[in-house]
Symmetry: C2
Subunit: 128 residues, 2 copies
């Protein structure tokens, strides 16, 4: 699994950050995702540093751009704060899976609640 940490730039494009998300790499997120797939990545974990921990939703635009540009699974990460954020990641962001942490920590949502919601929206999830 290749982690891609991104920060949105003023021009609207997304730059990849290296070194655990600390060092701007100068690389464009979409180009880097395509290159990672070409080099043999099995899966991409795409984390928006801007959205991470904020709880206002995944960065759907870059998730969709990358998910549409590669064939390997893309896991959306950073920003989940509500049930709708998870289904948006699938329907609008075209993500294959979603990562979350904060909202489970602070018990804003229960994991099973998210799974049952997604199941109800017709999204395949493992319920047990």
């Amino acid at each position: 699994m290749v982690a891609i940490d991104i920060v949105r730039k003023d021009d609207g494009s997304c730059e990849v950050y290296a070194g655990g998300g600390r060092i701007p790499s100068g690389k464009d997120a979409v180009e880097w995702a395509v290159e990672a797939e070409k080099r043999g990545a099995g899966e991409i974990l795409l984390t928006s540093k801007d959205a991470d921990g904020v709880g206002q939703g995944y960065d759907l635009a870059i998730t969709r751009q990358i998910a549409d540009a590669v064939k390997i699974p893309v896991v959306a990460s950073g920003g989940a704060g509500s049930l709708k954020d998870f289904s948006d990641a699938v329907f609008e962001g075209h993500a294959d899976a979603m990562l979350a942490a904060s909202l489970f920590h602070f018990r804003q949502l229960e994991i099973m609640q998210v799974k049952e919601y997604l199941h109800g929206m017709g999204i395949p999830v493992r319920l047990n």
Copy 2:
């Protein structure tokens, strides 16, 4: 997928950090992983904040403790810097998958090189 960001404490235990890895939660990493599984997590992404971006290897001890404590897949994250780090994560850390970013960015290793190495060690990988 539930992300668990951890920091090793002076007493040797690992504390979970919330809010994108910024806020100490007071929770023990192993206990939290077990609770996440109980609550329905499908997979755990375990990131050592200490090891992340350093390239000196995954935190094998906590990876193993958690992988042995839960039945769901555990993805090791933070610290991969050499081929051996990947196989150590499997053999010593009992991880089901490994995440990396920095070393691919800086081209210290190629993704296919890691996969072929793991394959040669008898670890199942998808080679195409």
